[in-house]
Subunit: 140 residues, 2 copies
């Protein structure tokens, strides 16, 4: 009962976030949102999410998966991660955090923001302001 309520509440919040981003609640967007946000935090590529949608018998095209990932990113529901030129990863964890990236397996895992102490002892280039710091700890 408690679990159901919790799910329901976050689902309502999700709908609000989609609506306030000006996105209609289409079958495809709702299904992809469920795959993305229905469980634990995760890292996906477009191709991976597309595969999951097919496995779940969700009728959606790859083009729509790409569009949706970008729309969700713009809406602040996802965060795009750059670890691999040639492939975009999207992270359902939008809070301040960093990543382990395994060069052997291609696997990506989160590092809580509090678990990295970082200090920049230098000003950014003239006229620029820091918009974020990404730390990628490469492992093998």
């Amino acid at each position: 009962m408690k679990r159901a309520m919790k799910t329901e509440r976050s689902y309502t919040r999700l709908l609000d976030q989609l609506r306030s981003a000006g996105l209609r609640l289409t079958r495809q967007r709702l299904a992809l949102a469920k795959l993305l946000f229905g469980g634990m935090e995760r890292h996906v590529t477009a191709e991976l999410l597309y595969g999951e949608a097919q496995a779940a018998r969700v009728p959606v095209s790859l083009a729509t998966v790409y569009n949706t990932l970008h729309q969700f990113t713009d809406a602040g529901l996802l965060k795009e991660i750059m670890v691999d030129s040639g492939r975009s990863y999207f992270d359902t964890n939008t809070s301040h955090h960093h990543h382990f990236y395994c060069e052997t397996s291609g696997e990506l895992s989160d590092i809580d923001g509090a678990d990295v102490a970082i200090e920049l002892l230098l000003e950014p280039p003239l006229g620029r302001e820091v918009s974020g710091i990404d730390v990628i700890v490469r492992v093998k």
Copy 2:
């Protein structure tokens, strides 16, 4: 005279590095090496270097530019940087350092390793060892 000697010395060193990497001293590799290492530290993409080679009337194909960038990277003469999914940057600065990446201009600039104090308060995933830490300070 001093300048000539200095140039000559680093050039000799470069040739040694290429040879010890098992790379023959071909016209293309030498010309690309001159473009890459002949001046100050720089960040290039394959396309950019190819353009410069053409401007310098160096007969080289784009495929060879790609091959060469990877061979130089394997030989430790370049470092590959991932800031933009869909495009690889190569850095002639192979020492320990980080980057500013301007999201507005796409410009990349170095941050000396000593100018970033970073501490990882967490063990890497089981069975993995840290092979490097990349810090990208995004600015706009």
